[in-house]
Amino acid sequence: MSIEILDPVADVEEAAPSRRRLRQLGWVGWLSIGVIAVALLLAVLGPVFAPFDPNSSDLSYANVGPFGSHLLGFDGQGRDVLSRLMVGARTTVFGAAFVAIVAVFIGATLAIVTAWFGGKIDAGVSVGVDVLFAFPGILLAVLAAAVFGPSLFSAALALSLAYSPYVARVLRGAALKERAMTYIAALEVQGFGAWRLCVRHLLPNISSLIVAQGTILFGFAMVDLAAISFLGLGVQTPQADWGVMVSDGKTSLLQGYPLVSLSAVLCIVAVVAAVSFLGDRLDTSSKGVRR
């Protein structure tokens, strides 16, 4: 990681990069970490924390406001809103994580392969990437829903495919720079194979950029997945999911009872804002380290 060994100041900073980064966070950064931690906790243990069954509906409580232990009241079908929010965190968070991981995996593989081999492989992949750029993520997800039937999996797969060219384009530049470094040439001369060099040396050296890309994509994926579920082409109602809840609550909202839609919107916006704030920070601090 240390490129500027000659610079004593940089050397000291390199010594404790994680601590320096933590100090730079500020209260917004800590708040963001808190929001993400809560979302992750709910994604794993939401059903344990949920005070009521998220799917048991009692129409006599339809659109009844908060009272007693029902802190957020009931939705249009008389289901406990807080419980549905807690359980719904799972599909939202894990779906977005799946998209980010798969997209980064495909994108990073493409970037390293094209940067390493160059020439015809590079040109061929670039054409493929250009064609993928012609498909906006949402459109690809709608096509996937038409072909495979609407589900979280088909939406997530379509989004991963749609995001991967962006990752490939960003990482390819970094991989090319790394490929041209003398240490790679030196190791090549010593007879190390391409696979070993890519996985053991090139990949770790662009890892901070990969993490930053993954974080940014996670935010995008959460928004797009929620939007697709909102359209009815992702997670299917009656399963609890934040995007589905926004659309489920719309009828009540138009009748003047907005709590269901708005609470789900607030959850999505809070997590997305937190992720994008941290993603920006990771991006700039990783640039700072690399310079």
Binding site: V127, A134, I138, V265
Partner: protein
């Protein structure tokens, strides 16, 4: 310039060919036979079956069917919706106007508000800039469907200023119906454009040629107009173009949220009903519009900045 245009057009044609092939091929692979959809699952006499197969080219090999579909699409014939027994081009024609109006209104909002706020933020100091930053941070975190729901509640249900559902009749009424959807669609993009504009203008303000212009005694307005904004226009045009191109697909979300009878909302409906001819047709139109917009951005970029080596947009 001509060589650049020729290369860009060749890429455009290649992209469209591959994309149309992907659209057609994907839906061809979808489970379920078109005959079952045509007959509703009833058994039919063999002569009717043969007639249907003849009419929809069901017996031809895949590549021939693709080619028939693609060439007739180039002539404006996108086939027939099997469940609706109507021409896809007619169905698209009835709805494309709403989508174009929505995208254009949104684009106008993005350009006016986004670029305007960015310039104000960059030139103003202290609290003005802080206000701009606050607005852009809040709207950046508002995805279209979230903004739609919030706007519907605040300006539709609570205040009653704007209608929350439907298309409206007549120009002014349609505009009134499109206001909230356009605002919802613009929210995220306005934030992005504001940020890029603000940074671009700030960077130009710090440049030496601007200081030179100031020290030569040129009026501040002239300096901003001729030396700052003109140079800042390049990154701004790029980001505005990219965000407007992205609206073409995102329109589906607000159209669904506001019950607008547009192309995007219809695409979603068709995907749910497995009306493949319509899904193929609308997807092709949207990809076409998206790719064309991107080419226009590239050309505008090349014209704006003669230093750019033609054909390679900033990567």
């Amino acid at each position: 310039m001509l060589a650049f245009l020729a290369r860009r057009m060749a890429m455009l044609v290649a992209t469209l060919l591959v994309a149309s092939f992907a659209i057609y091929g994907a839906l061809y692979l979808a489970p379920g036979s078109p005959i079952a959809a045509l007959t509703g699952g009833r058994s039919v006499p063999p002569d009717v079956l043969a007639q249907l197969e003849e009419r929809y080219h069901l017996n031809e090999p895949f590549l021939t069917r693709y080619w028939i579909w693609f060439t007739s699409a180039l002539h404006g014939d996108l086939g027939e919706s099997i469940p609706l027994h109507e021409k896809v081009s007619t169905l698209i024609g009835q709805r494309i106007g709403v989508t174009i109006q929505l995208v254009m209104l949104t684009a106008a909002i993005i350009i006016i508000v986004g670029v305007g706020l960015g310039i104000v933020g960059a030139l103003g100091r202290g609290s003005v800039d802080g206000g701009v930053l606050l607005v852009s941070t809040v709207s950046a975190a508002l995805p279209a469907f979230a903004a739609a729901v919030i706007l519907q509640f605040v300006f539709g249900v609570t205040l009653g200023w704007f209608p929350v559902l439907g298309n409206g009749d007549g120009f002014l009424d349609q505009l009134r119906h499109l206001t909230l959807p356009a605002l919802a669609l613009a929210a995220t993009s306005v934030a992005l454009v504001t940020r890029v504009t603000r940074t671009a203008v700030r960077e130009e303000l710090d440049r030496e040629h601007v200081q030179t212009a100031v020290s030569r005694g040129l009026p501040w307005r002239e300096v901003v107009r001729r030396h700052v904004l003109r140079n800042a226009a390049i990154p701004i045009t790029t980001v505005v173009g990219i965000t407007i191109a992205s609206l073409i697909a995102l329109a589906a979300i607000v159209e669904t949220a506001f019950g607008l009878n547009g192309l995007g909302a219809y695409l979603v409906q068709a995907a749910q009903n497995k009306d493949f001819a319509v899904v193929q047709g609308i997807s092709l139109v949207l990809v076409f519009a998206f790719v064309i917009t991107n080419v226009v951005i590239d050309i505008a970029y090349a014209i704006l900045d003669p230093r750019v080596t033609l054909g390679s947009r900033a990567q």
